[in-house]
Amino acid sequence: MSDRELVLEHVMEPGTGKAVPVLRGQILRIEQLGNGQCADFNAFNLHDYKEYFHTGRTRHLHGLFPAEGDMLWSAPPRERPMFTIIRDTVGTNDIQYPRCTGFLYEYQYGFERHTNCHDILAESIREYGLTPDDVHDSFNFWMHTGVDDQGRLYIKRMLAKPGDYVELIAHFDILAVPNVCGADIFSTSNFELKPLKLQVLEATPEERERWLQPEERQYRNQRTPADFKLSEIRVTRELERDESYSADWPVYPIVKRPVEVPLSEDEYAMIEGLRANGGFGEADSDIVRHAFFSWWIEEYMRGPKHQHAGE
């Protein structure tokens, strides 16, 4: 990829982060300089900071451990791909754990002052006029995590080595904010803080062709402030009720209608089978509805299905 033009290069030392614009079609490259360092990561629309990265939608669409080929999505109601991970030489990333904070180190370990991702991210985005309240849940590059059989999260030893890297191509103009994770008393970065190298590079025409959609928005429900009934950003902290408010729900009222489903005796016996299996409800109508919609999800739904039949 030597034909990529270098736009910016910066080494993040331990205890620091960097807010860096990455324009549509540019690539953010983060590289390990030491033996395994987690990079927490925030991202904002460069032209509208209210659109920012969302772990929840990313987790929903790509699972608990996004890696090469997956995308980082912005929060509802914007919900656009911000970046695609076009290269990931390790493949262990986390979006379950929230960023570490000053509170966490004080509450759990008794440190009144300790490097922590929230404060580092907050200091990084201050360069662009954003506040500590604007820091959001992070994408945690290289953080090697798991979920035990009780549903509890745990942190494993970092696998990244010097020279490992991730590359993300921007789908629109973004303020990207990586930081050197401040956790030196978890195994997140193998109990040691190390620097990380950042580069911003121009994607080649071939890379733009491969990864970028022609339009930055593909769906009507990837909303913008122009779609909002109230689009101004508040400038006061106190919340006061709007006395003129009258609810205008998107779909309301919800009206139900009966559908009669004819079944032969043999077909009806299938209801009994599903009832005996469990996981479909008790009433005949519940079982038919659950089975029908489960079929529809398997047949028509785009993306991960998020259900196991009969459980």
């Binding site: 139900k256 209608r257 559908v259 009806y268 089975a291």
Partner: protein
């Protein structure tokens, strides 16, 4: 063939989905036929659930 009828309730959004399936023309000509067809396909594709259920009895 004796018939039994199971009545399910759907809302206007689910009705749109059934309308699309009816328009595709593959599963049936009305909502009831489409739901029946989808239900049967689910049972066919997950026959292990029916067998497991039968085995539990």
């Amino acid at each position: 063939m004796s018939e039994r009828t199971v009545t399910i309730e759907i809302n206007q959004q689910q009705e749109q989905m059934l309308d699309r399936l009816v328009a595709e023309g593959e599963l049936g000509e009305d909502h009831g036929e489409v739901v029946r067809a989808g239900f049967l396909r689910f049972c066919e594709e997950h026959s292990e659930l029916l067998e497991r259920g039968a085995g539990d009895e």
